[in-house]
């Protein structure tokens, strides 16, 4: 095969656009011992090296990112050392090793206690408490970082005073007194807080992900992105909340559970019925007997996460966000990464605009990035209106505006190629397709596709190629 042909195959393979028979031919050449094989291997190596030379020049970004991951590792390792598994050194022991160690460590305080006279019983009890506090737990452990007021850790039938640095593991139960406060963290940076008469337990061994049983009270969580298939699960008496990575508050009693999401998205399953709901940022859902499970705007939520309640009906334009205050757009955590910030460099009026930078990863299982802005529709809202300015865009990069209700986001509200925008600010007007005259019927999509009274966000998707753009002055307009 000549080198021109081989070169074309290499490029097609890189683009994922190679025909099956050509891929087989290219693989055969890579394996071949002759000059062609050496040449192809050298070309592939050259591509990789060129990409590296053009990329992170001195590895600064990698060092910074690694630093965080190593800190998480080190925290976990410190725990292992603290339980006396010296042979493990920097490595965590297997769960089986930890269990054997636990057995050995429990034995001697028991023997000691048996030999003590009655007058020493209290001392022996205290000793048992201390040993129990040091007993090793399962692999996915948390550590108490803040303790205020009366915090009791119930472990193996003992009641221990909660203290900063105490490790928490499977089977532990925390009980908080009046006005008490506690904060605990996991090795991946996930952080939870609870206060005032809460009762919670750590039922899981970590193999299926982090688990927390909230028996009573309230927890606030900032959850780092969890591994696929191993979400953080918070279980209340009447509900089960599944979290992949987000900020939320979960309050529970024996009869009621309520989840408020500040960032990201959470799945809440009722334990009373078969209902479940996806809760977006700025929304709250409640599980209780007699209540239909649905997400609603968080009452008294922060301005950064909650869309203001709309007027009953409008006849004039409604400004949703001029981006002069806090950032109120959120990245959909299950979509591809996108840089999202308020920028002072460009604004359509005022001094700030939303700045978006999306870099497509070829072959990514998440082939689009999505951001959303909390909003509720009022009667009379007819069109979405905003301004877009493209800084750079690959030819195939595309934008799309969607309207989301409490069940889903619906596409085809607006769609186009980023590269088709003119230089400078471009005005974009997108009809809300629940209006009969605006109904999209192409490809079998008919309006209305969402429930107007359950709309909670406007979303923007970027996909198909790299794009850097600014967005400003998001409005809802009445009918012309």
């Amino acid at each position: 095969m000549n080198r021109e042909r081989l070169s074309l195959l290499i490029e097609a393979w890189r683009d994922g656009a190679i025909a099956p028979e050509d891929a087989a031919a290219l693989a055969a050449v890579i394996d071949a011992p002759g000059a062609d094989g050496a040449w192809v291997r050298e070309q592939l190596a050259a591509i990789g090296l060129i990409a590296q030379a053009l990329d992170d020049a001195d590895g600064t970004a990698m060092v910074a990112s690694l630093h965080e991951r190593m800190r998480a590792e080190a925290n976990a390792s410190r725990f292992v050392r603290s339980i006396g598994a010296r042979q493990a050194q920097a490595m965590r022991p297997s769960r089986r090793t930890a269990a054997r160690a636990r057995g050995r460590r429990r034995a001697w305080p028991m023997a000691l206690a048996a030999g003590l006279v009655a007058a020493m019983a209290v001392g022996a009890f205290l000793l048992l408490q201390m040993r129990a506090a040091d007993a090793p737990r399962g692999v996915d452990l948390a550590t108490l970082r803040e303790v205020a007021g009366t915090v009791i850790c119930q472990r193996d039938g003992h009641s221990l005073a909660g203290k900063v640095g105490m490790s928490l593991g499977q089977g532990d139960r925390l009980v908080l007194g009046q006005d008490a406060h506690v904060r605990w963290t996991y090795a991946d940076g996930t952080e939870l807080r609870s206060d005032d008469r809460a009762a919670l337990a750590f039922p899981g061994d970590g193999t299926a992900g982090k688990q927390l049983r909230l028996e009573d009270g309230l927890v606030r969580a900032e959850v780092a992105h969890q591994p696929e298939g191993r979400p953080l699960v918070i279980i209340a008496p009447v509900a089960r909340c599944t979290v992949v990575g987000t900020r939320l508050t979960f309050a529970a009693t024996a009869e009621r559970a309520e989840v408020s999401v500040a960032q990201g998205r959470v799945h809440l399953q009722s334990g009373l019925t078969t209902e479940s709901v996806e809760i977006a940022a700025g929304f709250t859902a409640t599980v209780a007997a007699g209540l239909t499970l649905s997400a609603r705007a968080t009452a008294g939520g922060t301005s950064a996460t909650t869309a203001p309640a709309p007027p009953a009906a409008v006849t004039a334009a409604r400004l949703i966000d001029d981006h002069e205050g806090d950032l109120r757009w959120f990245h959909e955590s299950s979509s591809a990464p996108v840089d999202l910030a308020l920028s002072h460099n460009q604004a359509h009026g005022g001094v700030q605009a939303l700045h978006l930078a999306y870099r497509m990863v070829v072959g990514d299982v998440k082939p689009y990035a999505q951001i959303f802005h909390p909003v509720h529709l009022a009667a009379g809202d007819h069109r979405i209106h905003l301004w877009i300015r493209v800084e750079s865009a690959q030819p195939d990069s595309r934008w799309q505006i969607q309207v989301c209700d409490t069940s889903n986001c619906y596409w085809k509200q607006g769609i186009g190629r980023c590269a088709d925008f003119m230089p400078g600010w471009n005005e974009v007007t997108v009809p809300l397709d629940d209006q009969p005259e605006n109904a999209f019927t192409a490809n079998g999509v008919t309006a209305p596709v969402y429930q107007r009274d359950r709309v909670n966000a406007i979303a923007i998707n970027l996909y198909g190629g790299d794009a850097v753009l600014d967005i400003d002055d998001l409005e809802l307009l009445p009918a012309p």
Binding site: E11, A45, G48, A57, R69, M70, V361
Partner: protein
């Protein structure tokens, strides 16, 4: 005791800063090594970062009387091969064929030590890229940094896809000749 050995000793005691210094010392070489088999810069980034984490976790088992670099490169090769093997099973069968061939190549290179010098080539390549004309440099950047496809590039530059592939091949060869000359000190 060499600076590197001292850093390794401190890192084994849990000093993250010392391990970060080792990362800075070795990251270019590891990226160069991984890039031999992974043309996508993001894949290289992920694999090399995971390799460093493997090393961090395994420091306790590292024999300090031996050189740290070869140990790291072995870990990195293993990560590369693991990545390619996993990807080969996840992609369309025909794309996986090429990944499987690259795994075999990585195994062969591991036996011969091929690719250990790749970090030096990145430094040389940076210099050689500066010698390209602006239009050539822009094309290389669009293709190998920004990831623009050959089809889009051919439309943008008014060439056939085969012609664009040829242009890219010639640019690679120019750059690689420059790198070889520079590494050889000529």
């Amino acid at each position: 005791m060499s600076d590197e050995r001292h850093l390794v000793e401190l890192a084994k005691r849990g000093e993250i800063e010392s391990f970060s210094a080792l990362v800075r010392l070795h990251q270019a070489r590891l990226r160069g090594l991984a890039a031999r088999y992974l043309p996508d810069a993001d894949d290289v980034y992920d694999v090399v970062q995971d390799a460093f984490l493997d090393a961090f976790r395994g420091l306790a088992g590292f024999d300090e009387t031996r050189d740290f670099g070869p140990w790291l490169r072995t870990i990195c090769r293993n990560r590369v091969m693991g990545f390619l093997r996993a990807r080969a099973t996840q992609r369309a069968h025909h794309l996986g064929l090429v990944d499987a061939a690259l795994v075999r190549q990585a195994e062969a290179d591991a036996a011969s030590g091929e690719g250990d010098e790749a970090g030096d080539r990145i430094a040389a390549l940076k210099h050689c890229l500066g010698g390209l004309q602006d239009a050539q440099r822009a094309l290389v950047d669009l293709r190998y940094h920004q990831g623009m496809g050959v089809k889009d590039l051919s439309q943008r530059f008014g060439k056939s896809e085969a012609g664009m592939a040829m242009t890219l091949m010639r640019l690679r060869e120019v750059l690689m000749r420059c790198v070889v000359a520079r590494v050889a000190g000529r």
